[in-house]
Amino acid sequence: MLIFILKRLAIAIPTLLVLITVSFVLMKIAPGTPFSGDKAIPKEILANIYARYGLDKPEWQQLLEYIWNIVAHFDFGPSFKYKDRTVNEIIAQGFPVTFAYGTWSFLIATIVGISMGIIAAIRHNTLVDYFAVGITVGAQVAPTSSSRRFWFSCSRSGCAGFPAAAGTVGTGATSSCR
């Protein structure tokens, strides 16, 4: 079992490195800059912004430094969008909320799911079985929008200790004249 886990972890590392490289290349190919706004930025200012974020260096160097900082320091660098925050800070803000939701969902799904399964197996082909399977399948197919509404109202009224207002970090819409 331990060897299996270690193997999976060993495969995960190069996979992540490949993913980082691929997304880095995709970002570079995409037109526009992370700093494009309503108003065109004069080229001198754009050069200053690029220098501040190290984007004036050769691209291979940017990629290597990015990966090295993650591997050696677990540092994902500055955020291009929230200019007074680092990516680590943004993760630190959202992670506890995601972790809480994830943990609760996992516990509820496992406990309720396994219990229902056991009950359904013991009382095979009875009303209890149909009921248990019905609920499980119903929960599977229920649209997330409606279940989300339920859990959201639940979390806002404070039941079950859910933190209110889960990270709504979203599309980063725009300012006035777009």
């Binding site: 200012i45 007074d84 300012s175």
Partner: protein, 542 residues
Amino acid sequence: MKLQAILTAARIGVALLATTALTAPVFAAEVPAGTKLATDQVFKYRVLDNIRALDPQLAEDVDTAYVVSQLFEGLYNEDALGNPVPGAAESYDVNADNTVYTFHLRDAKWSNGDPVTAGDFVYGWQRAVDPATASTYAYYLGLVNVVNSDDIVAGKLPVTDLGVKAIDDKTLEVTLKASTPWFVKTLAHSTLFAAPKATIDKFGADWTKPENIVGNGSYILAENSPGERVVLKRNPNYWDDAKTVINEVQFLTINDENQGLTRWRAGEVDQTDVPAGQYPALKAELPGETYSVPQFCTYYFSVNMTATAPDALKSKQVRQALNLAIDRDVIVNNVLQGGQTPAYSFTNPHTAGFEMPTIPAASMSQADRDAKAKELMTAAGYGPDHPLALAYIYNTSEAHKKIATVVGQMWKEKLGVDLSLQDMEFAILSDMRHEQNYQLARNAWCGDYNEASTFLSLHDSKSEQNDSGWANADVDKLLADAKVSANPNEQYKKVEEIAAEEVPIMPVYFYAKVFMQKSNVKGWPFNNVEQIWYAKDLYKVE
């Protein structure tokens, strides 16, 4: 004897100064006697997920600027009509040719109790143009003519060469490279706020965290959770705190307009935008809480005026015909329905001191415009036998798509023009416009300060924002003359008239901001076209 000579010289100097010591009353929450104030003085404002950096020199989005304007204060603020009113400065003097401004600061404190000094403004302004700060708005100082700012941004001069210096702790002298009679109107922009040097030196990039930040505004930062909320509390050290009524300001991130409306109805926010197309219905349902006010922006089509444009667009007659055939009334009354007004010229009509030019097309009936358009098109050699095909690019949005479709239809029916539409990400549109890699493109401009040059300088052939690539020597000269003119409206009118004749842009409409606001919120500056507001001026009634 020597002293006598100096004193005489000083007296002559003072006499030469066109002293403009403003004595206007300071704007604050003006609560009429007998008003029953609500016990709950918390103002809740909806924002998009774009509160990016609570640093006056790095703020760029409108919503971020709103937060920063509560935390910090410039030399002058704006009142409910958009006029400058004393902020950190009490008064100013200016020399005869409007190139040297001397500001006299009031006795004010930072939120940590330190005095606000002229040196704090020098530091803030130097910081804005310092290449190491990499502020997107670094060009703002050049825009308002502060000496050497462009060369400092380009790394050619040290920041200490910037045209701003502290004569003493309470006197700030600003030197401008050209006559700028409207300079005081530019000071409410956060780029020109003071910055607390000691705090920034101590905490570096972390200085804007709630536990570190120091400001000179009417509020201090209590919480900052990007993507969720920003909470501000009153700053007891603010010089006018005694007149402040709102105790807490909450900026709540709600990206979706319809969700914003639902939460407004539930009383969770005091103000929210009206979702597209819902203004008439909401106005009928809640007339006392639905507002449409002029906004300092113009919507227009950019025309590629460079060598890369198709031959048809190089014809002035074709450009004029296309421009005339756009029925603006249909767009504002039937498509947008939010109180927008038709535009036939570029500068926003609500610009302070601006006199609207006489554009012939503006006073014609649409039938006459259409007839003229057909005539011009035929004269240019296009018609049913020789149809014209053009391409229009815009950034993805329902409203932009509707306008593009409607205009395409108008051109097709009236002029037989086939308009192909292509939508794209805003960043891509912005780049393509900038490189004149288009035929016709959606565009919009919001003024940075309340004076006509904030719009018309876009027609300058050297302007970074001149997306049309239009170069007209007369226009360049008029704009240069306007800078030193006693009445720049003369030059501005001529620029508008030349632009209406040459059609490098086709103005479509002047923006309106449509929003819902709870009836118990008072003091909102509805007539400030730049939508600059300060929570210190608001109050809530029972």
